[in-house]
Subunit: 209 residues, 2 copies
Amino acid sequence: MADGTDRFRLGQGARTLGTVATHARERLLDTAEDLFYAQGVRATGIEQILATSGVGRASFYRHFASKDDLVVAVLRRRRERWATVSEPRMRALGGHPLVLFDVLAERLEETGYRGCAFLNTLVEIPDADEPAHREAMDHKEDVRAFIAELLAAHGFRDDGQGLSRSLLMLYDGASVVGLRERSPRAAHDARAVAEVLLATAPRSAQVDA
Amino acid sequence: MADGTDRFRLGQGARTLGTVATHARERLLDTAEDLFYAQGVRATGIEQILATSGVGRASFYRHFASKDDLVVAVLRRRRERWATVSEPRMRALGGHPLVLFDVLAERLEETGYRGCAFLNTLVEIPDADEPAHREAMDHKEDVRAFIAELLAAHGFRDDGQGLSRSLLMLYDGASVVGLRERSPRAAHDARAVAEVLLATAPRSAQVDA
DNA sequence: GCCATGCGGAACCGATCGGTTCCATTTCAC
DNA sequence: GTGAAATGGAACCGATCGGTTCCGCATGGC
């Protein structure tokens, strides 16, 4: 519902630059993203989001049709950030499939790491009909496709998507282990396993990068 | 929906024979376990557990101090079942480390598979001080220790617990992938990766100190 | 000046949450 | 059969949930 509100509101009139970040929608998204990630979606109430962000109750419902709508908007923004920040960065780092685990290791070192926000969403929102659930599912397929792209660019064959699926499984495994241990070791372990896996993987006859 | 008593009931004749399964505590545990697993802990209210199990509100609070207490009790029973059912069964199946993924594949084929209940608990209850959180953490360490036992029994070295940790990571990864997809393929993939991993793993020299 | 718009505060809503209490009934050991 | 224990039903509680509505204020474009 209210899918029209999921875009950044910059299109509305000419928002002159210089306007402070008082915009309610942005603050709501930022605050909700933090709280949802740290506490979980269900454990975070509208009340807390309003109190933390300083946004009024009425303003909230002017921008989002419901809490569920906010959840979806937060996930959409996360997906967009993955596509526009994480993926380009990994390509810039050489784009070897193993870079996936190097970047994950960085995230694991951050304090407050709480696992993959999308996997957590799948756990918290089991109903496949829920838009938030689908958003998380779609993101995982995006990641797998990205992994497949890295594999292809480095001459690894991905027959039946077997290799990209396995690497994503390692990535997800490292994410949940990192959720438990709060240490980058999980990413290092996963990287080591991935290295063994890639060493035994068939190479395509194509060029080698 | 009040006839929730027709659920599959694991044989538990711990009580004096003759007593019908009317005991409120057992019914509460059975019902709560199913609902918690299917819907999530936070999404499941006391109300629904009472309605489904047919247990009265008063009886509930005679057996459990709070909902949190029930959550912990459910997790404890799950852990006990792992130790008394799953582990012995895997040993009986030969005890090769790969049997872990064969048994997981079976679970993935069951309808209603919703991932690892303990990982889901860690996601839903992030606070490490919560008893339920600790229960889940402790269980994972149990599983790792069990994997280490299987490795040792089959001549695999587990220096610094590196191998058992990696296998558990694969197991967790397959669990969350299985949560997304509804197919045992995740377990098969994980098994294949584990096979490669074990093939390159150092073997202990028969008997080693 | 004007007035559109966006905003925060607060009162209010019905529903549901987890939890307490009292009571009539059922169950079971003896 | 009797008595104690266990149980289910229901009324009730304060708190909080997500959500609606109105109102007064601060903008900023024109």
